[in-house]
């Protein structure tokens, strides 16, 4: 794979030539610290992987966790006023990178989700530890590097303020994902990586075509500039601009797993290592969502009603398709648990899109707060659920969870709690609040029909979440069949430290938010941009 080097060459030459003093944009290092630290940590891991002896490779995981913690800590000084950097020196002005509340919230989600994923995968990665549920471990150094670079892209994306940076950040977040999905290098991993890859590449091409149209109509790729440009664009260019805007949404909708761009999701999640599936379902989705939110509310504001309607229809289709498909999940198919979570994540993506659609109708960025709040809640809870599935291991059949409460009480309670949060039932009050906030944004924006569709979907979703929850507390099948075979070996093992820590963090976070939802709901009322 020497291409990459060859490719880098033509660009590297001018870097040496260019006068750094006069030409290069000034940089506010504090503002860009979160994604930067993630990228540096990735590099550090890669280098350390070369020098560490085989026995000490476990340290790499903790190093990655530390890097992500540092990146998270770098968010703290940014709270408060928005800071911009990488500003254009020309007459148009504007900046490429802005760390405002919106960006911080999604960076928190991306980096926090990545941190939880690191903790979840600590025991999967070590090749020597065969207790991953999968047949073999994953190559350590590369795994951490790819995860961190993807997290870096996901953290960069919400702060990006021009289409070029957005597109590249999206690619940085996605591309390592292909490799992560296929990293087990078995048949299933390869197949799911292939599907993920093909869908993603095609969606990227479509999105880039849309970007080119938008660029033609608006004359710039800066989000704010596009809004001005589109507002004053000649009437002749309007159909092209609107089509371009909608095509641009495709790439992000693909990451968010909106119907009809969702097909890769179940197949990919099933084939990917479990932590990676959880990562994609949370951080990947967060990246797509933040991109969607940015381009719709900042760049395409003049066409609010067009994409508002498009997103509303997509949201309705997505939640309906995801939930109904999850409802059909049979208990005895292999990897049924992951598949159910995959379909449920498609359904949840539908809810997440609702406030975005509402923002188009309400012609303000205010409803976005609901998406941010719901995404934070969903991320925490969904990663937790993936964690428990990873802990239980086995063949991943839903039947394998029968009577989990008898074998591993804490895991069963945690999973039940996460599922109830996802379903939005008490005591998972936080999920309920999230749904209420989303619901209200739809009603407030006058999207009554979407609210009704959502309510029906919430009820449909109850069925499969509750069925699974009930399964946890049902008695184990008496016969020494699949259930025993799948569950026992996993349950009798000691819970790995990283996995336990991740589950504890997720459960504690969800519990705290259930008691004090104002912590996350505050973003609903505050201004984001």
């Amino acid at each position: 794979m020497t291409t990459a080097h060859d490719l880098g060459q033509p660009f590297m030459t001018p870097l040496a030539v260019a006068d750094p003093g006069g030409l290069i944009q000034s940089v506010d290092w504090v503002a860009v610290a979160p994604p930067l630290i993630a990228a540096l940590a990735a590099l550090a891991v890669l280098v350390a992987d070369l020098f560490l002896p085989e026995a000490r490779k476990r340290l790499l995981g903790w190093l990655s966790a530390a890097g992500l913690l540092a990146a998270l800590a770098a968010l703290i000084p940014l709270v408060g006023d928005a800071r911009s950097t990488f500003c254009f020196t020309g007459p148009a002005g504007g900046c490429s990178y802005t760390a405002d509340h919106f960006a911080l919230a999604f960076q928190l989600l991306a980096l926090g989700g990545a941190l939880l994923t690191v903790l979840l995968s600590l025991h999967t990665v070590d090749g020597a530890a065969p207790n991953s549920g999968s047949a073999a471990g994953l190559p350590g150094g590369e795994y951490w590097f790819l995860l961190l670079s993807s997290a870096c892209g996901a953290a960069l994306l919400p702060a990006a303020r021009d289409l070029a940076t957005l597109v590249i950040a999206l690619e940085v977040a996605t591309l390592p994902g292909f490799a992560l999905v296929g990293l087990r290098r078995d048949g299933r991993g390869a197949e799911s990586a292939l599907k993920f890859f093909l869908s993603s590449v095609t969606a990227t091409a479509v999105m880039l075509l849309g970007v080119s149209f938008v660029y033609a109509a608006a004359g710039t790729v800066q989000l704010q500039g596009i809004a001005d440009g589109l507002a004053h664009a000649p009437g002749q260019l309007k159909p092209l601009a609107e089509a371009g805007a909608v095509l641009t949404l495709v790439g992000f909708a693909f990451k968010t797993a909106a119907v009809p761009f969702h097909f890769w999701v179940p197949d990919t999640y099933v084939g990917a290592p479990l932590p990676v599936a959880g990562y994609l379902s949370v951080v990947g989705k967060a990246a797509g969502l933040s991109g969607l939110a940015l381009v719709t509310t900042l760049a395409f504001r003049p066409y609010g009603h067009t994409w508002g309607l498009v997103l509303a229809v997509l949201a309705a289709l997505t939640m309906t398709a995801g939930n109904t498909a999850a409802l059909r999940q049979r208990a005895d198919t292999p990897h049924g648990a992951v598949r159910l979570l995959a379909w449920s994540s498609v359904g949840q993506a539908g809810y997440l899109l609702v406030p975005l659609a509402a923002a188009g109708y309400a012609d303000s960025a205010e409803p976005l707060g609901a998406t941010v709040a719901y995404a934070l809640i969903y991320g925490l809870v969904n990663l937790g659920a993936f964690g428990v599935v990873a802990l239980v291991g086995g063949s991943g059949r839903l039947d394998g969870f029968r009577g989990l409460a008898g074998r591993n009480r804490w895991a069963a309670f945690a999973l039940a709690f996460f599922l109830l949060c996802l379903a939005g039932l008490p005591p998972g009050v936080v999920g309920l609040f999230g749904k209420v906030v989303v619901f209200r944004s739809a009603v407030d924006a006058g999207l009554g029909w979407l609210a009704v569709v959502m309510a029906v979907n919430v009820v449909i979703a109850l069925a499969y979440y509750l069925k699974w929850t009930a399964l946890l507390f049902a008695p184990s099948a008496g016969e020494a069949g699949e259930a025993g075979e799948a569950g026992e070996p996993a349950a009798t093992r000691r819970t790995p430290a990283g996995l336990g820590a991740a589950l504890g963090l997720a459960a504690a976070g969800a519990a705290v938010l259930s008691v004090a939802p104002q912590l996350v709901l505050r973003v609903v009322s505050g201004s984001l941009f």
């Binding site: 693909f254 939930n323 109904t324 005591p427 109850l462 009930a470 709901l521």
Partner: protein
């Protein structure tokens, strides 16, 4: 007054539960004090709070919890006479149950977790009673539900306990979903989840969809309070330990639905349709459950069906617009039904069977458990509604309320105009109430006579139903004191509580201030019906006894009344034929109806609701062929379609 006291009331049992769970396995010795003490202290505090609050006063305090952007959430306290009365009842019953359980589950290895769950349950119930905010109330409501599922499934080795807890979970959840939507709609309409705010908005006419809200809320109430058609979980829930039945399924949790409607009655008064539905629900529930109770052989199931029926009285009172009567009956019933369940526990403990026909074959059962014998007599008398027991006054107040409503003069207090209650609701409740009084008297008499007064014959058949107790006491020994004295404690309110309603400056002053004295006409009707029921049951029992004397197989009047196998033998007895016409067939029909509802309606609902999404889901998953090219086709076609639509649309 000091806010710390009412706050401590729900907090103490919750802390006790946490401590119990934390230390239970390591220090089993601590389990008992940790179970009893916090609950007992809470009961005392509840009483002190009630006394401090006094009559006619209300207390509201709250702190804003979560700015959701829309209706605010707040951790709010709302104390008034209703909450005082009910919290004292909860405290009393919970303390008795905890004390009783120390002996009843003495050797149960799971006792610590059991006691912690009961404490947690008590805390949740206190939270529901004291909460001034609907969402906080909902939290308590759900925690109660969860504790109850676990407690029903306490003996999870048995299949019936497992299915019962699952059934309770599913059926109540079926009601909870519309309930949630109702709450949110209410909060959205009123702009707040504070109960005081909601009621103020309701009074100002600010609610836009009162009927929809009321009907949605009713679904949750029907689930929680075991009203038709969601009542089916309660009789099955008797698979749990008997003290749990006394606490949860008689005195407290099932009353939560009634209490909620009582708190939100002004909302319901805005919608006559909702009141009519409530009345119809109450009528079907009480009559149906009384018929079922007459048909049961399991002692606890008789009591369970009777609970369902008495809850029907309460909802009937609410449908008549009189929440005073509803809460009066709630408290009275809570006391005597808890008493009945606890005595039932003692009797079952001693007789080693749940079956009353099997008990009838045991020689000297009543001498073996004298405390239970006498206190159960008191409880049954209260259940029948004989003066001067508590049940008499409370039931009469319900009938009086219904009678007023039927005449168009509903006793709504100051909550709304009397015309808000449709006369039809009053008539429905009144007629059903009288019929139920008759049936209640009949089954209570049958229970009492068959269990204790039959002549001893052969040993019990091996297949008689029995809830196995972990502590198989030697039948020759009396039950421990901890199981006996709570009976007498509870017998006190069973005897005397009703008298409090006699004077307006006693109990009514604490509630809405209307008199609770029974009217002469309803007393005559109600008492007449009750006496008739007693006589009919007594006659049937005599007949059954006579048949036994004639050398036929041992029979109890219940079997006599029900068993179609006894049909040929019934020809000679006119009374039996009358019973048969009156009871057996309707009972059979009711049983069939219940079964039909259970199987056909509920399952069809679930399936029917699942069918459409099912097909859709199959279609979605059918598209998931695994062929990436198909996925790409959908992706690109979707993109092109979007572009076309947008371009055409603009």
């Amino acid at each position: 007054m000091n806010l710390a006291l009412p706050i401590l009331v729900p907090v103490l049992p919750a802390l006790g539960a946490a401590a119990g769970l934390a230390t239970g396995r390591r220090y089993p010795g601590l389990a008992r004090p940790l179970a009893v003490l916090p609950v007992a202290v809470s009961a005392v505090l509840a009483l002190v709070t009630a006394l401090q609050l006094g009559t006619g006063a209300t207390l509201d305090a709250g702190t804003r919890l979560a700015p959701t952007g829309g209706p605010d959430l707040s951790l709010a306290l709302h104390l008034d006479g209703f909450s005082s009365v009910i919290s004292v009842l909860v405290g009393l019953v919970a303390t008795c149950v905890q004390v009783y359980s120390t002996a009843y589950l003495k050797d149960d290895p799971r006792y610590p977790s059991y006691a912690a769950l009961v404490s947690l349950f008590t805390a949740a119930m206190f939270l529901v009673v004291y909460s001034g905010d609907l969402i906080v109330l909902l939290v308590g409501w759900e925690v109660m539900g969860i504790c109850s599922y676990f407690l029903i499934g306490h003996d999870w080795e048995g299949a019936d306990a497992r299915t019962a807890s699952l059934k309770a979970f599913l059926v109540t959840k079926l009601g909870d979903v519309p309930f949630l939507f109702g709450l949110f709609l209410l909060g959205a309409d009123a702009g707040s989840f504070r109960i005081t705010e909601v009621l103020r908005t309701a009074a100002d006419g600010g609610l836009h969809h009162p009927t929809l809200i009321a009907l949605l809320l009713l679904a949750g109430v029907a689930g929680k309070s075991a009203q038709f058609p969601l009542h089916t979980w309660l009789p099955d829930a008797m698979a749990g330990p008997t003290p749990v039945s006394a606490l949860i399924h008689a005195a407290t949790m099932v009353a939560a639905g009634v209490y909620l409607v009582a708190r939100l009655l002004p909302v319901f008064l805005l919608s006559s349709a909702a009141l009519l539905v409530l009345a119809a629900m109450a009528a079907v529930t009480m009559v149906g459950s009384a018929l079922c109770a007459l048909a049961q052989d399991d002692l606890k199931r008789v009591l369970a069906y009777s609970t369902v029926g008495q809850l029907g009285y309460m909802t009937g009172a609410l449908a008549s617009g009189d929440r005073q009567a509803a809460v009066f009956h709630l408290v009275a019933h809570g006391a005597f039904k808890a008493l009945l369940f606890l005595t039932a526990g003692v009797v079952i403990h001693a007789a080693h069977t749940n079956s009353i026909s099997a008990m009838s074959r045991i020689d000297g059962l009543r001498r073996r458990v004298p405390d239970a014998y006498w206190t159960m007599g008191l409880g049954l008398a209260a259940l029948i509604g004989l003066p001067p027991f508590a049940g008499f006054f409370s039931k009469e107040s319900v009938l009086t309320a219904a009678e007023h409503a039927a005449r168009g003069e509903a006793l709504t207090g100051h909550l709304g105009p009397a015309s808000a209650v449709p006369a039809a609701a009053g008539w429905t409740v009144l007629v059903a109430g009288l019929l139920t009084a008759l049936l209640t008297a009949a089954y209570a008499t049958r229970l009492w006579l068959v269990a204790f007064h039959a002549r001893p014959v052969a040993a019990a058949p091996a297949d008689a139903p029995y809830s196995p107790e972990p502590d198989e006491a030697d039948p020759a020994h009396a039950e421990p004191g901890a199981m006996r004295w709570p009976l007498w404690v509870l017998a006190v309110p069973t005897l005397g509580f009703g008298l409090l309603g006699l004077r307006t400056d006693w109990l009514p002053a604490l509630l809405d201030g209307e008199p609770l004295r029974p009217a002469v006409a309803t007393v005559a009707l109600g008492l007449g019906a009750a006496l008739a029921g007693i006589l009919i049951a007594y006659a049937a029992w005599r007949r059954a006894g006579a048949r036994t004397a004639a050398g036929q197989p041992a029979a109890d009047p219940g079997r006599l009344l029900l068993g179609p196998a006894y049909g040929p033998a019934q020809h000679g007895f006119g009374v039996d034929r009358l019973y048969s016409a009156l009871f057996v067939r309707p009972t059979g029909a009711a049983a069939r109806l219940v079964r039909f509802l259970d199987r056909a309606v509920v399952e069809t609902y679930v399936r029917g609701a699942g069918a459409a999404p099912g097909w859709l889901g199959r279609a979605v998953r059918f598209a998931q062929t695994g062929n990436a090219q198909g996925y790409l086709s959908a992706l690109l076609a979707g993109a092109v379609l979007l572009a076309v639509l947008v371009a055409v649309g603009s």
